[in-house]
């Protein structure tokens, strides 16, 4: 099709002439100005000249726009020129205001250019947009369709959140417009509003349904955008629409739409694609819903057999859908065949999509990769880097302990040729993950990580180095293995430093220094002075950053022992104790003092073997005495920063400082759990680099052994025996030697294939499944957003030749026959672990029992219902939350129904939105038979959102799997009244910048006025404080526990309550308005 545009500009002058004779738009005299500008630009040779020319052009535009004699028509022309300059990257902000004027005052055509310029120049945060609101309002009400269209377009492009209420009613009205193009644009504009401010369009969800049933398929198609988004957020809420979507798809596929919607004689392909995407979201993990769509999916697959690009797009979506919804075997078979067609296609785009589809399904169906192994091998050598990368992605997904060496080697080869930062970062992370998870032996692991550090350079994600160091410092259970690993690392680093350390990236040098500092004493052959010499070499390198030097100095501090190093150390100290960098200076001082005083050094840096985990009192209680003395001596008591800020705000009438209320960052400081730190790593973390990473790697968690995985793979190691350390694994002998890469004979490809797809055949699927997919699946399940199909078993149980324990059925369908087929205890526990509805009846009884265990100091406070979180064997976890004034306490009850005591139970909670701190210090609990242990956690909000979620893990030594659970709380649980005077309210109101306005429905009551009644409902449900009521207005205040305040101004306006919220936190007003709506709906 590219011949359509096969016209190039070879002779510029002749083409310029031809432009002048263009039909359609009549050439205006001024258009030649743009022409001459472009002519001049094309004649230029350097960027500098272009800059000069454009500056001249811009200043001429500037003169003309501000001249009073410029007509609207000339203005339109000027705008086009300004758009051109802006596109080339030159600032023409002086025209912005004129663009708005043009949109305001011009006739339709000029207006169009004005609107276009506005939408290209301005963004939703631009202050000039305020000037546009009236124009848009006027045009939305215009009788001219084109004006309405233009207004809708600009609205969907740049309108900010706070201006939406002004135009919302008008846009809503347009949903009933007789012209379908207007309806369609209105639907999309509303979708855009939904994206920016979901609360404000909550009330029109019904109208979206109407749009879905619109008689014009175009409007229906536009509404699919909305539904795709809504269903993504909440698939449960729209299950009832499944049949409608299926019917629509049936009609589309059956060619019931007008011919206009055909594209290359395929009926409405884009609508089909969207419908398939929607169906896959609806059918995910839901056998019932999936059932409804099987027929139409089969039909789509059958119909889409024409050989055009767009039919492949439909097929691809179909295949994805089939693999996402609850499986049906014959559909899967067809889909697999389809993937095969893609992968084997000679068209490169289809091959790419085929590989993508394989990546998507390969974890559920490793056999499919096995089928296409030769194609995958070919793609690995494909000249297109994108294809290669996608192939590596597949390999990454099918890696197991047996093929890891081959696959990692392929990845490293690719990495060494990759130039794109993004690819490098991504791939380096993957190699590191695989190395950690499946390393066959120490040597391989260290060498692979060396390659990762050298190739990854400075762009690598910091957690790779962190977790590597953590891993080395914690080591294995076996002392001997541990020692071997460390010694090998030391040896390899010493030889690297003896080579050409200049070529190594800084990050790698830092890792090397740390490892040498910590472990070089384990290697007796290398004396301390050799190490210090090598480290000294790093200090003298030209490209060493001061951060690296800090690491080096710290390593020296740990190593320098004996008289041999003294002179060198002395000279280093002298050089750096006068350094301008304060951190370096401090390290140099430390080095000096500790190297001189062996006794002190032995105390500060005891030999590794004698180190005990150190308990750190992060609440700083040992300072209590100091504080009380200071208070007694007349010092002012400490005030948290937000309190100071508030007081500051009160003393000023109007706050002119824009950043005054950047509220409490301090909350993070004092809620840390006292945790165990190991000296060894705490020293290493002292460096500038790692200390701010939240010290995550410095936490030495008891009971965490060698965890080969970033997320959710903890259990893997319980089940799989730790990777063979002796290097005697028979599978590795299959590995072709490196040299085989340069010859490309078929035989070698075969050999490569056999080693790469090792462990994917039927017998070892079990191993893989046990090893990693089950726990990872578990983790994803809990988060509720699985990119892949959750159900591990997608084949019918009858089909299973081997009812191996891998085939864990998704716990959402406990009635599924697989469970009935007899599963292991673990699975039963897993299936139970998810909240099933069957037990809710028994809950009530248990509740009464559990509430007795509530801590005494919490009795009498507002407490939520006790709900069951999860259970595992004889253990059951339940929880509730209690509102305290300063915090929200979450109480977890661990009850043991068996006769025997269960020891070493750990419950860990974490959340992105919350800060969790535990009241008790010990991590482990012991639960005696038939008893209940209570753990109490305080929660504080880190990032407000409508609902906050906690993800927890129950570690339990008797079951190999860790059981995960989630606990959801509404934000309203964290809201506390804020007592203020009206004056204080006034000053605070002015200083907050984030606001939201919304109309709420009024509550009517017999004994009180509607304002009172509504406020009563709100204060009762949400614990707000009513500051004052004046006539039909009221001011209300609250805050999130003790921190962020939120102020509310209410005014009765006709039938509604106009509410205006302000807060220093951007998310808070929106969340609060949501809960207000919910509270009022309940009445």
């Amino acid at each position: 099709m590219s011949d359509v545009v096969e016209k190039t500009l070879t002779a510029l002058p002749s083409l310029l002439l031809s432009v002048d004779s263009q039909p359609g738009s009549a050439k205006l005299s001024t258009s030649s100005k743009l022409g001459s500008l472009i002519r001049n630009i094309t004649e230029l040779t350097s960027k500098h000249e272009e800059e000069k020319l454009i500056q001249r052009e811009l200043s001429s535009i500037k003169d003309q726009v501000s001249s009073p004699n410029t007509t609207m028509r000339q203005m339109k022309e000027l705008m086009v020129r300004a758009i051109y300059c802006e596109m080339l990257g030159y600032d023409s902000s002086f025209t912005y205001i004129h663009a708005i004027k043009l949109a305001q005052q011009g006739s339709v055509l000029e207006k169009r250019v004005g609107y276009l310029a506005v939408s290209l120049f301005l963004n939703e945060h631009h202050e000039l947009l305020l000037l546009l609101v009236n124009t848009v309002l006027k045009d939305l009400q215009s009788t001219n369709l084109i004006e309405v269209c233009m207004a809708l377009t600009v609205v969907s492009q740049i309108f900010p959140k706070d201006m939406i209420p002004a135009i919302l009613p008008l846009v809503e009205e347009k949903l009933n417009h007789p012209k379908e193009i207007i309806r369609r644009k209105a639907v999309l504009a509303l979708y855009k509003f939904h994206l920016i401010a979901p609360n404000q369009v909550q009330h029109i969800h019904n109208k979206f349904r109407k749009a879905l049933c619109d008689k014009d398929p175009g409007v229906m198609g536009a509404s699919l955008h909305i539904y795709l988004h809504l269903i993504q957020e909440n698939p449960e809420g729209y299950k009832d629409l499944t049949t409608s979507f299926v019917t629509i798809l049936k009609q589309v596929v059956g060619g019931k739409l007008p011919m206009d919607f055909n594209y290359h004689s395929v009926p409405a392909p884009w609508i089909q694609i969207q419908l398939l995407q929607i169906l896959s979201l609806l059918g995910k993990n839901d056998p019932g819903t999936s059932e409804i769509m099987h027929e139409i999916l089969e039909e789509s697959l059958r119909r889409a057999e024409m050989n055009h690009n767009i039919t492949y797009a439909i097929l691809y979506e179909c295949v994805k859908c089939i693999y996402t919804i609850h499986p049906k075997s014959d559909l899967l078979e067809k889909a697999a065949k389809c993937i095969g067609n893609f992968v084997l296609s000679s068209k490169i785009n289809l091959k790419y999509l085929g590989l993508k589809a394989l990546t998507y399904v390969v974890q559920q169906d490793p056999k499919l990769a096995l089928q296409h192994q030769m194609t995958i091998i070919e793609c690995l050598e494909h000249p297109d880097l994108i294809i290669k990368r996608e192939t590596l992605e597949i390999l990454f997904r099918i890696t197991n302990a047996q093929n890891v060496t081959v696959i990692v080697e392929k990845m490293l080869t690719f990495l060494s040729t990759s130039e794109d930062d993004h690819t490098t970062i991504d791939l380096v992370g993957k190699v590191a993950e695989l190395a950690k998870k499946y390393a066959p032996d120490n040597e391989w692991f260290i060498q692979t990580m060396n390659a990762v550090f050298s190739l990854g350079g400075e762009t690598m994600q910091p957690d790779i180095t962190n977790s590597f160091l953590k891993l080395l410092s914690e080591g294995f259970d076996s002392v001997e293995e541990d020692r071997k690993l460390k010694v090998f690392a030391v040896n390899s680093y010493v030889s690297l430093l003896e080579g050409e350390p200049e070529k190594l990236p800084q990050r790698f040098l830092q890792v090397i220094s740390w490892v040498l500092g910590e472990f070089s004493h384990l290697q007796q052959d290398v004396g301390a002075e050799t190490v210090v010499c090598l480290l000294d070499k790093l200090l003298h390198m030209k490209n060493s950053t001061s951060e690296t030097k800090t690491w080096v100095l710290m390593a020296m501090t740990k190593v320098c022992e004996g008289a041999a190093c003294a002179p060198l150390v002395q000279s280093v100290c002298e050089t750096y104790s006068s350094s301008l960098d304060t951190v370096l200076r401090q390290r140099a001082q430390e080095l000096q003092h500790l190297s001189r005083d062996p006794a002190l050094r032995a105390r500060v840096l005891p030999p590794v073997c004698t180190r005990e985990p150190l308990e750190v009192d992060s609440s700083l209680s040992f300072l209590d005495e100091f504080v009380s003395e200071a208070l007694a001596a007349g010092a002012a008591p400490y005030k948290p920063s937000h309190q100071r800020q508030e007081e500051l705000a009160q003393t000023k009438a109007v706050s002119y400082e824009p950043y005054q209320l950047t509220l409490p960052i301090s909350t993070t400081a004092h809620t840390h759990t006292p945790s165990l730190l190991s000296i060894s790593s705490s020293l290493s973390e002292g460096s500038a680099d790692l200390s701010h990473k939240g010290g995550s790697s410095s936490l030495k968690l008891e009971g965490v052994k060698r965890v080969w995985g970033r997320g959710g793979y903890e259990a893997a190691q319980v089940e799989t025996p730790s990777p063979p350390q002796e290097g005697g694994d028979p599978s590795i002998s299959h590995t072709p030697p490196l040299t085989s890469e340069d010859t490309e004979s078929k035989q070698q490809e075969q050999q490569l294939a056999s080693s790469m797809f090792l462990g994917l055949d039927h017998s070892s699927v079990t191993l893989m499944g046990k090893g990693d997919s089950t726990p990872s699946w578990l983790k994803r399940k809990e988060r509720g957003q699985t990119p892949l199909n959750d159900a591990q078993t997608f084949t019918d149980p009858q089909e299973l030749t081997d009812p191996s324990p891998l085939h864990v059925v998704s716990p959402q369908f406990p009635q599924s026959p697989v469970i009935a087929n007899g599963t292991s205890d673990t699975e039963a526990a897993l299936a139970l672990a998810c909240l099933d509805t069957n037990r809710s009846s028994t809950n009530q009884l248990e509740d009464r029992g559990l509430s007795l265990y509530l801590p005494a100091e919490l009795s009498g406070l507002i407490c939520s219902e006790i709900s069951v979180l999860c259970s595992s064997e004889s253990l059951e976890l339940s929880a509730c939350h209690v509102h305290k004034l300063r915090s929200l306490e979450m109480i977890v009850f661990i009850s043991n129904s068996s006769d025997n005591a269960v020891q070493q139970i750990q419950v860990q909670l974490h959340s992105e939105q919350l800060e969790v701190s535990c009241a008790s210090e010990s991590q482990m609990e012991e639960v005696k038979g038939h008893s209940v242990v209570v753990r109490q956690y305080s929660l504080r909000v880190r990032k407000p959102s409508v609902h906050v979620e906690l993800i927890g893990t129950l570690f339990h030594p008797e079951t190999p799997q860790n059981v995960q659970f989630t606990y959801r709380l509404p934000l309203s649980s964290f809201i506390r009244p804020l007592t203020l005077s009206t004056e204080e309210y006034g000053t605070m109101w002015l200083s907050f910048s984030n606001d939201t306005k919304q109309n709420l429905t009024l509550v009517h009551s017999e004994n009180e006025g509607p304002l009172r009644a509504t406020l009563n409902v709100l204060t009762e449900d949400l614990h707000l404080h009513v500051v004052e009521i004046i006539g039909m207005e009221a001011i209300v205040a609250c805050r999130l526990l003790q921190d962020q305040p939120c102020l509310m101004h209410c005014r009765v306006h006709g039938d509604a309550l106009a509410v205006w919220l302000r807060s220093p936190v951007p998310e808070l007003p929106d969340c609060l308005i949501y809960h207000c709506q919910r509270a009022l709906q309940g009445h």
């Binding site: 099709m1 590219s2 359509v4 545009v5 096969e6 016209k7 190039t8 500009l9 083409l15 263009q22 359609g24 738009s25 009549a26 022409g35 472009i38 009073p68 410029t70 007509t71 609207m72 028509r73 203005m75 086009v80 758009i83 051109y84 596109m87 080339l88 004129h98 006739s107 055509l109 169009r112 276009l116 290209l120 939703e124 084109i146 809708l152 377009t153 969907s156 492009q157 369609r184 644009k185 999309l188 855009k192 175009g218 206009d260 594209y263 392909p269 884009w270 694609i273 995407q277 767009i310 492949y312 797009a313 490169i348 785009n349 790419y352 297109d384 994108i386 794109d420 993004h422 991504d426």
Partner: protein, 168 residues
Amino acid sequence: MIRAILIFNNHGKPRLSKFYEHYTEDTEQQIIRETFHLVSKRDENVCNFLEGGMLIGGSDYKLIYRHYATLYFVFCVDSSESELGILDLIQVFVETLDKCFENVCELDLIFHVDKVHNILAEMVMGGMVLETNMNEIIMQVDAQNKMENTFLWELFIGIKPEIGSNFK
């Protein structure tokens, strides 16, 4: 969602840039440059998809492009869009341009930036695909162009007084 639509020529000169998300002026220019850099070094016989660069949003984003004679048409989209669907959308866009300009060439895009933008606005609205039917798009654009002609005629016989009114 479509995040950005870029058109540039074989030398990396931007011919049209439309961002559906806010970036600063500098970032926009950088995105254009980086995208050109990524796209231009690819052969003709490789696939039309690219993983997003660092700037435009990382791994969730993809670039889908087509190369016609002297021009590259690049759509930057997120993972919810169908690759092949967008590829055909570019085709529809180019065919529409071709119909509207009667054998479109690079110069048409330069001299009629505003028209190209208007055609695009009929296809993609705020990052969402609005219309994929070429005839429908042309009809909408024609309706506007017709207004232009009547408008010129009105100007000629001097019906509309505000045409001459001055801009303050």
